[in-house]
């Protein structure tokens, strides 16, 4: 057995140029330290799936030129305004965008989790979200009568990447109520996790923590990165760094400002 706990750069090795990378929504544990490390490594041509939305993580990767295809239902900085790199990349056509809707992504990951080729979903019919997705299908519900319903194909990313409060030495990861991380790991071929800290006990043997634990069975590698979601929040641990987000929104509004941000917060510093 190779060690599951390793350095950040070692942990990120499975995330190759051109791979399909899944990351969670901005409030569920975005692996921001890992994202900065990937940018430093010069990763490119990613197909990024944000399950189901993203904020700074997608914007930074887009701005740094790492993304070829973006599949998500929304990117914004929330209260801090529009996501500047996302917006300009869409307007200039430098990123291929697959617009979707939150429950569609959840359903597609669940299909992969269950090993079925598709999942049905209500809604969507008559929307341009559906009209733009040639990879989705509409069938007549075989249990109904003249009842069209959308089928969505299973989505198995090459790698799932997220940040969580803690892991134990076997690579079991406590994610609490952020269970989309568990579905993501089940759906992904490999899962890479950064954590605040290593838990010395066995999470699977703890009668309360086990309920919020992703088994190490599904985990490829774990790296310890304290405040690894910064400047985004980690539920129950720390809030978003509002001052930093405002600074990002201000700087990233112009290319020079974004370059300045990258230099100061990504290339020169390993973490905050």
């Amino acid at each position: 057995m190779t060690a599951i706990i390793c350095s950040l750069d070692e942990a990120l090795a499975p995330i190759a140029d051109g791979c399909v990378l899944a990351v969670p929504r901005e409030s569920s544990g975005a692996a921001m330290a890992a994202t900065r490390a990937l940018i430093r490594r010069g990763i490119n041509r990613l197909h990024l799936i944000a399950l189901p939305t993203s904020s700074l993580q997608a914007d930074l990767l887009i701005g740094a030129g790492c993304i070829e295809t973006l599949e998500t239902s929304a990117v914004s900085l929330g209260e801090f305004g529009p996501a500047p790199c996302f917006t300009s990349a869409i307007l200039s056509g430098t990123v291929r965008m697959l617009d979707t809707t939150c429950p569609a992504l959840h359903a597609q990951f669940q299909a992969a989790e269950k090993g079925v080729p598709f999942m049905p979903l209500r809604g969507l019919i008559g929307s341009d979200v559906l009209a733009q997705r040639r990879d989705w299908r509409v069938i007549d519900n075989p249990f109904g009568k003249d009842d069209p319903i959308v089928l969505l194909p299973a989505l198995s990313p090459d790698v799932g990447l997220f940040h969580a409060p803690m892991a134990d030495h076997s690579g079991n990861v406590f994610v609490g109520t952020q269970r989309e991380l568990i579905t993501m790991a089940h759906a992904a071929r490999k899962t890479v996790v950064t954590v605040e800290t290593i838990h010395d006990g066995d999470l699977l043997r703890d009668p309360t923590l086990v309920a919020g634990t992703l088994p190490g069975f599904y985990v490829e590698a774990v790296a310890v990165e304290p405040r690894g979601a910064w400047p985004l929040s980690l539920p129950d641990h720390y809030a978003i760094d509002a001052a930093h987000m405002s600074e990002y929104a201000r700087l990233a509004a112009a290319p020079e400002g974004f370059a300045d941000y990258l230099q100061r917060y990504v290339y020169e510093r390993r973490a905050a």
Partner: protein, 227 residues
């Protein structure tokens, strides 16, 4: 048991939902997306959508970069989708929740011909569907900075319900890009009572600050509290 749920980037709906819960002594159940303190969901990010699919989410709120007179909403882009002139964040859960939540309340602070248009450029979610399409949900109202519209699902049209204090029907007409029904008598929207304002300021605002710190601070001067 029914619930009000509030999605992303929705500080005003969050205020309304928390206010309703305060008035109801803890009911209806309220879930704010992104909140740990104000949610009853424990099954990850998909539970809101599953719960709505079960018919258990009674009320949801949606907005749009554009909203048209048939209740269609556009959260994606202006102009041709392939070469847009402006881009919004994206459709979020609208392309699903608009269909399955019985009472969807549309909100858009900016009431202008730029936001309330004859026809949206991109349909994130349509205001109505063909009869054979499964659709227990849809819009019931649209709230703006000027007025309250009700939505008539049968005719797929808005009807002006009330105009906010300090504004006029003419102002509404002038700033609305779509046609809407105008009853003979259009009342003034009642201002919030002293008690409502007290609840919002003392109880609701500190709760809002968890998810919407800037909004809570700038509107109410409030900072986060434990529930």
């Amino acid at each position: 048991m029914y619930a009000m749920s509030v999605g992303a980037a929705s500080p005003i709906p969050a205020t309304a939902a928390l206010l309703a819960r305060e008035r109801g002594g803890g009911r209806p159940y309220v879930s704010l997306l992104g909140s740990r303190a104000h949610t009853f969901f424990t099954d990850g990010a998909r539970e809101l959508f599953d719960c709505a699919g079960q018919g258990r989410v009674d009320v949801f709120f949606l907005s749009g970069g554009q909203i048209d007179g048939a209740g269609n909403i556009n959260l994606v882009s202006i102009g041709d989708y392939a070469r847009p002139k402006a881009r919004f964040p994206g459709s979020f859960g609208s392309a699903y929740l608009y269909y399955v939540v019985p009472k969807v309340i549309l909100f858009r602070v900016e009431h202008s011909r730029r936001t309330l248009v004859p026809k949206v450029d991109f349909v994130s979610a349509p205001g109505g569907s063909a009869d054979h399409v499964f659709r227990p949900g849809g819009p019931i109202a649209l709230v703006t900075s000027l007025c309250l519209f009700a939505f008539d699902r049968q005719h797929r049209r808005f009807r002006l319900q009330s105009v906010h204090p300090g504004h006029s029907v003419d102002e509404v007409i002038e700033n609305t890009g779509f046609a809407f029904d105008q009853p003979a008598y259009i009342p003034v929207t009642p201002a919030p009572s002293t008690e409502t304002l007290r609840l919002m300021r003392s109880r609701v605002a500190p709760m809002l600050a968890e998810v919407y710190p800037q909004f809570a601070q700038s509107v109410f001067g409030a900072t986060a509290c434990a529930r």
